[in-house]
């Protein structure tokens, strides 16, 4: 896919986002003193600007849609499952930290993320997964005196 077609889709989505925020901005504010500009004037002006510029981006993409320039990098398509997996692992880490504790959650996350990044040197991988969490834990708990999540499940 060339970048012009991507611009049409992204421009369209952003235009819709701008319009949605323009409409919703006043609804997010309660009572206010009616002096000068309203609290939603600035957000509305910005969302209007985003909608207009996105429409311009969309139009630019439409003009260039037949250009034979494959400038949108599609090499990344093969790595999309890895990226989604990494995001899911990060999400699970955030949720899992208070449940399993910082040490266990961090060790598992490091292990899985290293595999997602293509690391297959198992010994090094296990050493890092085992050594890094206690080091970080010690640094925060003992040096910085900041409490990290403890396991609540066990």
């Amino acid at each position: 896919m060339n970048m012009a077609r991507v611009d049409i889709i992204v421009g369209g989505l952003l235009c819709a986002f701008g319009i949605a925020i323009f409409v919703a901005a006043p609804l997010t504010v309660g009572e206010y003193n009616e002096v000068g500009l309203t609290p939603w004037s600035f957000p509305q002006a910005l969302s209007a600007a985003i909608a207009m510029l996105s429409a311009l981006l969309c139009w630019n993409g439409w003009r260039n849609r037949r250009r034979e320039v494959a400038d949108f990098e599609t090499d990344g398509a093969s790595s999309t499952p890895h990226i989604i997996a990494a995001i899911v692992v990060m999400g699970l880490y955030i949720v899992g930290m208070p449940l399993f504790g910082y040490l266990a959650a961090t060790a598992c996350t490091l292990l899985v993320l290293s595999i997602i990044y293509g690391n297959r040197r198992w010994l090094g991988l296990f050493i890092v997964a085992a050594a890094a969490p206690p080091a970080l834990y010690f640094f925060f708990q003992e040096v910085m005196i900041i409490l990290l999540p403890e396991a609540s499940l066990f």
Binding site: V35, G36, P39
Partner: protein, 497 residues
């Protein structure tokens, strides 16, 4: 002079000095690793400074900034891959020297030139900042609004090829900053029912997401693509190839003397950046050289020019930041955030209300530059090993540090979700060709612009004369319009070609 000496007591503490050294080491290591960059390093370190005294935390970040700016030259010289964009000019002659077996000479010269550039830049900051701040103390809301608009034109310089996408990103940043409390009415707005958003988007979470998590996601693609390890040129054991002789130093000194002030000048102007400074200085050195034909084939003046200009930018970028509160580039934008995280608002009032702090900070920059020389020389062989670190081992640790850092600074789960959301947004922006720096710059300048506009209109009872009737505000507005016209014209011309 009293102002300058006021900060000595505050900065000369063992903790501050150790943090500067630590920052320099982290900065050089991260700068040397291709794929990791200075904004990522500063963003990653920011939450760790959260619980430190402001001066200590900022000293460490300055060390990272300076070390990282120089660290990019190590990989540029040894593997021809600049660790930072600004080191691309260094690679031209540095790598050629390394291939001739003179890697040690090129690396040491890059250290001397970097430190020289930094010192000149820091001196310029110390001499000029207070003078400029004096002028800025006369600013009212109208001036700050006009200044904020003028500073927004930086977006035009950091937008890359697509101005429309850069401006959209800038508007998104301005919009994101409106989430939370209305500055004049103190009413919650734009929170969409999320109670946690009434305090605004957590700044550290946003920076880490946009700069570190997005980069970590991009690097998944790169680490899957490249499996071959890079060949690092080793440092020669021969004495003369491994050091800069006195005769060579005398030869390159005039080049450094010309390049460092050029870096300072460019650094003081918001939006231009160290890459342009390095290439301009390189071009100037080539034009003024008696042997221009050897440039690109291993000219030591080429390395000296690029590095002294590149690092000459570092201190000078703080001139507009400290005096006017406007960031000159993405790193100073993050540094501005670091000031705010520590409860300090850069601008003219910082000089009047926290004079000794500002003085200590600027002297700290100078001390960091001096320490840089020793840290870089002593740790040189160790820093070279950093290039060999594998992404597949490094980035999982970066991700864990991002999440832990955000947890520590944010004090809960919600900021981590914001960070993850911003990371995904940053990744999508990179994929779809939207530059990230304008978003951050918009986010930072938004309060200055909105507060300035609304306060000015309140004072004038809605009369716009408050903007065009005041010379400084009018001057900024005229410059803004002129710059917008110029940037648009330049962009249309480039598209036409």
């Amino acid at each position: 002079m009293d102002f300058i000496f006021a900060g000595f007591d505050q900065i000369f503490h063992l903790q501050n000095i150790l943090l500067m050294v630590g920052g320099l080491v982290i900065g050089i290591v991260i700068g040397a690793i291709p794929g990791l960059n200075v904004p990522l390093a500063v963003a990653l370190a920011l939450p760790f400074t959260y619980h430190m005294p402001p001066l200590a935390g900022l000293s460490m970040l300055i060390g990272i900034y300076k070390g990282g700016t120089h660290g990019g030259s190590i990989s540029a010289i040894l593997i021809n891959v600049p660790g930072a964009p600004a080191a691309a000019a260094t690679a031209l002659d540095g790598y050629a020297l390394a291939r001739q077996g003179k890697a040690g000479k090129a690396l040491k010269l890059s250290i001397y030139a970097s430190v020289f550039g930094e010192i000149i830049s820091d001196i310029a900051l110390i001499l000029l900042a207070a003078q400029l701040a004096k002028i800025a103390t006369t600013f009212g809301p109208a001036e700050f609004f006009a200044l904020g608009l003028f500073a927004l034109t930086i977006i035009g310089f950091v937008s890359g090829d697509n101005l429309i996408k850069g401006v959209i990103a800038g508007c998104m940043g301005l919009l994101f900053a409106t989430v939370g409390m209305d500055p004049l009415e103190s009413m919650p707005r734009m929170h969409f029912g999320f109670y946690e958003l009434t305090g605004g988007l957590h700044f550290i979470a946003m920076i880490i997401g946009l700069f570190a998590i997005s980069e970590a996601l991009v690097q998944i693609e790169n680490s899957l693509k490249t499996t071959a390890s890079r060949t690092v040129i080793e440092i020669s054991k021969t004495g003369d190839d491994n050091r800069v002789t006195w005769a060579e130093f005398k030869m390159v000194f005039p080049t450094m003397l010309r390049s460092a002030p050029l870096g300072v000048f460019i650094g003081a102007i918001p939006g231009i950046g160290s890459s342009i400074a390095a290439f301009l200085a390189y071009g100037m050195a080539k034009n003024m050289s008696k042997q221009p034909e050897i440039f690109g084939k291993g000219a030591i003046e080429g390395v000296a020019a690029a590095e002294s200009a590149n690092n000459g930018v570092c201190g000078a970028t703080f001139i507009p930041l400290l005096t006017l509160g406007i960031p000159g580039d993405v790193i100073t934008a993050i540094m501005l955030g670091a000031f705010m995280v520590h409860g300090l608002i850069p601008g003219p009032t910082l000089f009047t209300e926290q004079g000794s702090f500002v003085s200590a900070f600027m002297i700290g920059m100078l001390i960091t530059s001096c320490l840089h020389l020793f840290v870089a020389l002593i740790g040189l062989r160790g820093f070279i090993q950093a290039i060999k670190l594998k992404r597949s081992l490094l980035f999982p640790i970066v991700i864990v540090l991002c999440i832990t850092g955000t947890f520590v600074a944010g004090g809960g789960q919600f900021p981590i979700y914001v960070m993850l959301g911003m990371g995904i947004l940053g990744y999508l922006m990179i994929k779809f060709g939207f530059p990230i720096p304008p978003l951050l710059i918009g986010f930072i300048l938004s309060p200055m612009i909105e507060d300035g506009l609304r306060q000015a209109l309140l004072i004038s009872d809605g009369d716009l004369e408050i903007f065009y009737g005041r010379p400084i505000a009018m001057g900024f507005l005229v410059m803004t319009v002129a710059l917008v016209v110029w940037i648009t014209w330049k962009n249309l011309r480039t598209q036409g070609k």
